[in-house]
């Protein structure tokens, strides 16, 4: 069905922006009188080859993969849920608030799933308003989900400072989940079970979107809402479902990050992973397998890059420059590969 040259072409189209961005980044490093070879070597060594770095990269991948799974659901359904950061943070706060109490009263095999379920539900609920506005009034969900992110971040801060504040600490933060009560580690490493949950969720989402009737319905809605109406799909229900699943998975990402890594949320904490994952999902063209690859590459880049930037005496923001370059070249290759098509059709 898909032949080899086609696969190679797609691979090239996906990898080319990455390679071009790294090349361009190297030029920038040269201009700044830094050694690009040692810079990139440090990234590989600290993010991928060292035992500790690899474990950190894998741990970092867990929330990113869950966010990506959520984005795939929404994007394939043609709904631009750009509010994953707010959904992530609110769910994280709820998890941090509930988990210590649950862990104290229930066995861990029940307490942890319950906390994750609550996170999923809270995030899904946070997306209900944009879903309603989209389905009922056709309000652009890009705007509403972004707005809800700002509200979500503020609300999360408020919750941390008032009802969920741990009076025992000086800076505002929630109660801390004891290390023993957190997600179990894998095979004596520092990587927690969240990575497995994330990988399973992502593969499940990929399978559901490509191989089930529900996934096809969502894809029809995403491909053309007019067709969805013509063939009689329940557009309102599907819109709510896609938003709910997408946000819920983003919430699960927040829960996993808290239950696996931090155990608490501080008032100023907002990693804003969502905005970094969105381009990766595009880079992967909504394909689950490709997302795993790009997320891992990105995790290596950000974990190894922290050390590399410190060693090269560059601010951490230099990594954002690399990410931005990837995006620019992504857009360029997209444009260039679309052009011959347009010429043929025009």
């Amino acid at each position: 069905m898909t032949d080899i040259p086609q696969i190679v072409g797609r691979l090239l189209q996906a990898l080319l922006p990455l390679l071009l961005a790294l090349a361009c980044g190297a030029l920038l490093l040269l201009l700044l009188e830094r050694d690009p070879v040692s810079f990139y070597a440090t990234i590989i060594e600290r993010g991928l080859l060292s035992r500790l770095g690899l474990q950190e990269s894998l741990t970092r991948s867990a929330p990113l993969l869950l966010l990506a799974a959520g984005l795939i659901v929404a994007f394939r359904a043609g709904l631009w849920n750009l509010g994953v950061d707010g959904q992530f943070l609110l769910a994280a706060v709820i998890t941090a608030a509930l988990a210590p109490g649950l862990a104290a009263t229930l066995p861990p095999w029940l307490a942890l799933p319950l906390a994750m379920l609550a996170a999923f539900a809270v995030a899904a609920l946070w997306a209900a308003l944009p879903a309603f506005l989209k389905a009922r009034y056709g309000v652009n969900e890009i705007i509403t989900t972004l707005m809800m992110t700002f509200l979500g971040i503020s609300l999360a801060n408020l919750l941390i400072k008032l009802p969920f504040n741990d009076p025992a600490t000086t800076s505002p933060q929630t109660l801390t989940l004891a290390t023993a009560d957190r997600l179990p580690r894998l095979l004596g490493s520092t990587v927690h079970l969240g990575l497995v949950i994330a990988l399973l969720a992502l593969l499940l989402v990929h399978w559901a979107m490509t191989r089930t009737a529900l996934g096809l319905r969502l894809r029809i809605l995403g491909a053309n809402p007019l067709t969805a109406r013509h063939v009689g799909l329940p557009v309102t229900g599907l819109t709510f479902l896609a938003f709910g699943l997408s946000a819920g998975l983003a919430g699960l990402a927040g829960a996993v990050e808290i239950l696996g890594v931090w155990g608490t949320v501080r008032a100023d904490w907002n990693p804003a992973y969502g905005m970094l994952v969105i381009p990766l999902v595009f880079l992967a063209r909504f394909h689950g397998g490709a997302v795993i690859f790009f997320v891992f590459v990105f995790a290596v880049l950000s974990i190894g890059g922290e050390t590399a930037a410190r060693r090269a005496d560059l601010p951490n923001y230099f990594l954002l420059v690399l990410v931005a370059l990837i995006l620019v070249f992504l857009a360029l290759t997209e444009w260039l590969s679309a052009r011959p098509l347009m010429r043929k059709r025009g």
Partner: protein, 518 residues
């Protein structure tokens, strides 16, 4: 009001043997036509007669394949709409190009180059002067969305007059207007003509053409079949003039060798579809579907004629369930279905073949196999417990492709790479699958090659012969008369008459289409 141009002066615009061809269509066939300053020239024609092409040629959107366009006796060639505008030709199109959220004045200042000033005072003076020319008062600073449709139309005209000071073209300008607004429009156009402008009033409404025009020309199948002065028409009396023009617009061409095959016979039985007082939700820019009454028996084909865009699509969508019913009843086999969803109506045997084949009827980027099953997603045997069964889906697609002679490399080919004819074969196969009871065909042969047209018409006949009731919406009156038992005529969202097909049907339908009475 009558033509007062001097015999010697060359006409403002002359079409000389102008021909324009599109793939498979001769849209304008050696048309020779004069437009004089100070004259309102009404151009009549039914769907596909070539009116739009003629406007496109005049306004610089298209260039003729043969023949010449002369202005003041000089041959010209418009390379772009801007060139036509600079020659003084302004056009008001059927569909509004104004921005509702801007004020009248802002709308008029749109489209200026960046180096051109933004001075409002000059624009305002010009606006007032043009309004005086038209004899209307318009609020310059009101939001366009607060104006009535008639006032918006006037703003469109002002915009067209801004540069087009010699010829004003109005394309179906009265389609959405109330009768009071139409007479305002007539008064304004008469004033403009008196000031020496030429006006080309393109319409399908006979009464308006007769009321407005100093001269009435009739297009049919790309040819100019007649051109009559108002004086000439008045001399012969309104009734006879109307009959003559209707014949010119609609009569079967004398060159037709074979009479169309008679529609298949059917026995009158209890109606399988009954529609009473149907009113449906329609947008502001759409015809308002209202008061629809008709019934349909098994095996009967009811043609729906009328100028395109008079509510045919809204009717089809309301019946199919894509549009909310606001009032009235739709009974399918005795059961009220107006509150039922699209799939519920489909399960009861109602099928809708849409005219928007690629826009809503299918997904061009998806494979043929999934497009065939778009309306049955989740159904066994293609999905089991919600999981796709690729083998079943592929086998079904393979079988449909060969059974319906669809030219395609295979079931996985994206539908978008098929020809229009093959797309329609695929959609026909999809809608007629299983046991349909009522099928709505919306423009089933429109824009297709001859062979697929024959194939589609054959399918409609065959279905009817096997007892399926059909609603046949078509812009092609010949097709409707060749296939239907009865013909309903739609105008402005209503059914204005239902005619039994027979020798006199063409005249009667034609009369209804152009706004007369049966």
């Amino acid at each position: 009001m009558s033509a007062q141009h001097q015999g010697k002066a060359p006409p403002l615009i002359r079409f000389e043997q102008v021909t324009k061809r599109y793939p498979g269509v001769l849209a304008n066939d050696a048309i020779t036509l004069d437009l004089h300053a100070g004259e309102i020239h009404a151009l009549l024609g039914e769907n596909g007669a070539g009116k739009s092409t003629l406007i496109a040629l005049l306004s610089g959107m298209q260039q003729p394949d043969a023949g010449r366009l002369l202005i003041d006796g000089q041959a010209v060639r418009f390379s772009s709409p801007r060139a036509a505008l600079q020659a003084g030709i302004g056009t008001v199109y059927q569909h509004s190009a104004l921005v509702p959220s801007l004020t009248v004045l802002e709308n008029l200042m749109l489209g200026r180059r960046w180096w051109q000033g933004r001075r409002q005072s000059a624009t305002r003076r010009r606006f007032t002067a043009l309004c005086n020319d038209l004899g209307v008062r318009l609020p310059a600073d009101a939001l366009l969305s607060s104006l009535s449709l008639g006032e918006r139309q006037m703003v469109e005209i002002v915009k067209a007059l801004w540069e087009g000071r010699r010829l004003l073209i109005l394309d179906e300008a009265s389609a959405m207007l109330t009768s009071a607004a139409v007479s305002d429009l007539q008064r304004s156009l008469t004033r403009l003509a008196a000031k020496g402008m030429a006006i080309l009033f393109v319409t399908h409404k006979l009464p308006e053409a007769l009321a407005f025009g100093d001269r009435v020309s009739i297009l049919r199948a790309g040819r100019l079949v007649a051109s009559r002065s108002a004086a000439d028409l008045h001399r012969r009396g309104a009734e006879q003039a109307q009959s003559e023009i209707i014949s010119l617009m609609f009569d079967a061409p004398s060159t037709a060798t074979a009479a169309p095959a008679p529609p298949p016979s059917f026995q009158e039985k209890a109606p399988v579809l009954r529609v009473q007082g149907l009113r449906a939700a329609c947008g502001e820019q759409e015809p308002q579907l209202d008061g629809i009454d008709f019934s349909l028996s098994a095996g009967e084909i009811l043609g729906v004629a009328g100028i395109d865009g008079n509510g045919q699509r809204q009717l089809a969508e309301a019946l199919a369930g894509q549009r909310t019913t606001l009032a009235g009843r739709i009974e399918l086999g005795g059961e009220a279905v107006q509150a039922k969803s699209v799939p519920q109506r489909m399960k009861r045997g109602l099928r809708y073949l849409t005219d928007d084949r690629l826009g809503e009827g299918s997904l061009p980027a998806f494979p043929i196999s999934l497009n065939l099953l778009l309306k049955r997603v989740g159904d066994a045997p293609f999905w089991r417990q919600g999981v796709e069964q690729p083998r079943e889906i592929e086998a079904y697609a393979q079988q449909t492709i060969s059974a319906h002679n669809i030219r395609a490399p295979g079931p996985h080919t994206p539908l978008g790479s098929l020809s229009g004819g093959n797309v329609q074969k695929l959609l026909l196969a999809r809608e007629l699958e299983g046991q349909p009871r009522v099928v709505i065909y919306n423009k089933p042969t429109y824009g297709l090659d001859f062979q697929t047209q024959q194939l589609a018409q054959e399918a409609i006949r065959r279905q009817a012969a096997s007892g399926v009731a059909a609603l046949l919406i078509s812009p092609d009156l010949d097709e409707i008369l060749a296939l239907s038992h009865r013909v309903a005529v739609m105008a402005e969202g209503r059914i204005v008459g239902i005619v039994n097909n027979g020798p006199d049907a063409r005249q009667t339908v034609g009369r209804l289409v152009v706004g007369g009475t049966a």
